[in-house]
């Protein structure tokens, strides 16, 4: 501990609250809420608020998929990984049956094939270099990490490149999505999904035990996991689909590129109805962007409410380079892999879609490569 941290605060100083950034985060959120409510869109407001809650929950619980997976791969510690499965189990309780039974609701599905495998693998490398995944990049950038702000910029760029690559990757082949509820019905699909999570948890705990490591989630991960799981359900209820993060980055990147003169009219991805609509319409008409904005400002508000915001110095150039490379790889990988650890893994598994588990199985080896590469950028393998 340094002398500076031991020194008493000046009398009357409001140590702990960064009023400027707290006000900025709350004002920005209020402006976005006003814009969508003026358009008569209460569900859009609910998505912003859901994202805001997720930003707070992730930041306060320090809920990191990236560090959890790294600890599991390097030491066998499984508490964080099991906390992530808790989030999925809670979300699945609502998503599997509702997506199957209620019109206008749907799960996160995706085809199985080379594109999914390549994308998830590359994403895994990127998340370890950037030191944050889809959600981690968002809440860390919102929480005052300039390094992750840089990763976010490159994530956007990578995802635009990925959007241009995806049609070619899909041409390599694949099979249609495999959804548990399609074969077993809504409740059978839910039972199969929960059973797959229990099996995965047992396997992960057994590996941890064999390596002499802990497999008990910390209190932060338990409380945070429950809160994040419930917020996933809330976002699903408001948006009609499981929470997704990275499509918003792709839309932002493409909108910026369009403003700079890039023409997407010949790009196959941007002629598919969904992306075409998202590129043409207001950014506040895209569900993914709404939760992303909310999460950024929620994390900013939570960080500013507890300590001076973004007071640290910029990290070394090699660390920034890792963030940039990691961001690019994650962006490209997320488009080919149909999302990140949230949209593809959490959303996919919580929907009872086989692609979620395939994504996880392909991303883990990518993480191993990423962990091995970290020292090249001056980052620890821990």
């Amino acid at each position: 501990m340094t002398t500076a941290t031991l020194a008493a605060p000046p009398a009357g100083a409001a140590i702990g609250i960064d009023r400027l950034f707290l006000a900025l985060a709350l004002a920005a959120t209020a402006i976005l809420l006003a814009l969508v409510l003026l358009d008569g869109q209460p569900t859009s407001a609910a998505l912003i608020l859901g994202g805001f809650g997720l930003g707070i929950a992730f930041l306060k619980a320090e809920f990191s998929f990236t560090a959890s997976w790294r600890r599991f791969l390097t030491h066998g510690e499984a508490g964080g990984l099991l906390g992530g499965l808790l989030v999925i189990a809670i979300a699945a309780l609502a998503i599997v049956p509702v997506a199957a039974l209620v019109p206008k609701f749907g799960g996160a599905i995706a085809p199985l094939g080379p594109s999914l495998l390549i994308g998830a693998f590359v994403f895994g490398i990127g998340m370890q270099l950037a030191n944050g995944c889809g959600s981690g990049t968002l809440y860390s950038a919102g929480g005052g990490s300039g390094r992750m702000l840089l990763a976010l910029v490159f994530f956007m760029m990578g995802s635009v490149f990925g959007s241009l690559s995806l049609p070619s990757a899909l041409a390599l082949g694949g099979v249609d999505p495999i959804l548990a509820a399609d074969y077993l019905g809504p409740w059978g699909g839910l039972a199969a999904t929960l059973a797959s999570l229990a099996l995965a948890a047992a396997l992960i705990a057994a590996i941890a035990k064999r390596r002499g490591a802990s497999f008990t989630p910390s209190r932060n991960f338990l409380v945070g996991g429950v809160a994040i799981g419930l917020l996933c359900v809330a976002v699903f209820a408001a948006g009609g689909h499981p929470w997704s993060v990275t499509f918003g980055y792709t839309v932002w990147g493409a909108k910026i590129a369009s403003a700079l003169g890039f023409d997407f009219s010949q790009a196959a991805f941007w002629q598919w109805p969904g992306p075409k609509h998202a590129l043409a319409e207001s950014v506040l008409s895209d569900t993914s962007s709404l939760t992303d904005f909310g999460m950024l400002f929620g994390a900013m508000a939570a960080a500013a409410a507890s300590k001076p915001f973004a007071r640290t110095a910029w990290p070394p150039a090699k660390s920034l380079l890792a963030a940039a490379v990691g961001g690019l790889l994650m962006g490209w990988g997320a488009r080919l892999g149909f999302g990140c650890n949230i949209g593809a893994f959490v959303g996919g598994v919580a929907s009872g879609s086989l692609h979620g588990w395939v994504w996880f199985a392909a991303a883990l080896p990518g993480c191993l490569i990423g962990i091995k590469l970290r020292p090249l950028f001056g980052l620890s393998r821990e």
Binding site: F21, L24, I31, L32, V36, D39, G40, Q41, T43, S44, L47, G106, A108, I109, A110, P111, G113, G144, G146, L149, S163, L166, L170, G173, G174, V175, D176, P177, G240, H241, S244, F247, T250, K255, I256, F269, W272, P273, G274, P275, H277, A278, A280, E281, S282, V283, L284, S285, D286, T287, S288, L290, F309, A310, R311, T312, R335, F338, G343, A344
Partner: protein, 53 residues
């Protein structure tokens, strides 16, 4: 004020201006949608199913 704080202020303000500007000049059908809401979508990004090719 550190350069990181200045960077954040600039990024947040520019971002807000960009969001508001884009919202005001772009059409909007109303309800927020996901690419999965469109016919033929087989993934969260709206990619078509392999069987539809």
């Amino acid at each position: 004020m550190t350069t990181m704080r200045k960077t954040y202020i600039v990024v947040v303000l520019l971002g807000l201006v960009a969001i508001i500007g884009n919202h005001l000049v772009s059409p909007s059908i109303g309800r927020a949608v996901s690419p999965e809401d469109f016919a033929g979508a087989c993934a969260p990004c709206g990619a078509p199913c392999p069987s539809k090719k």
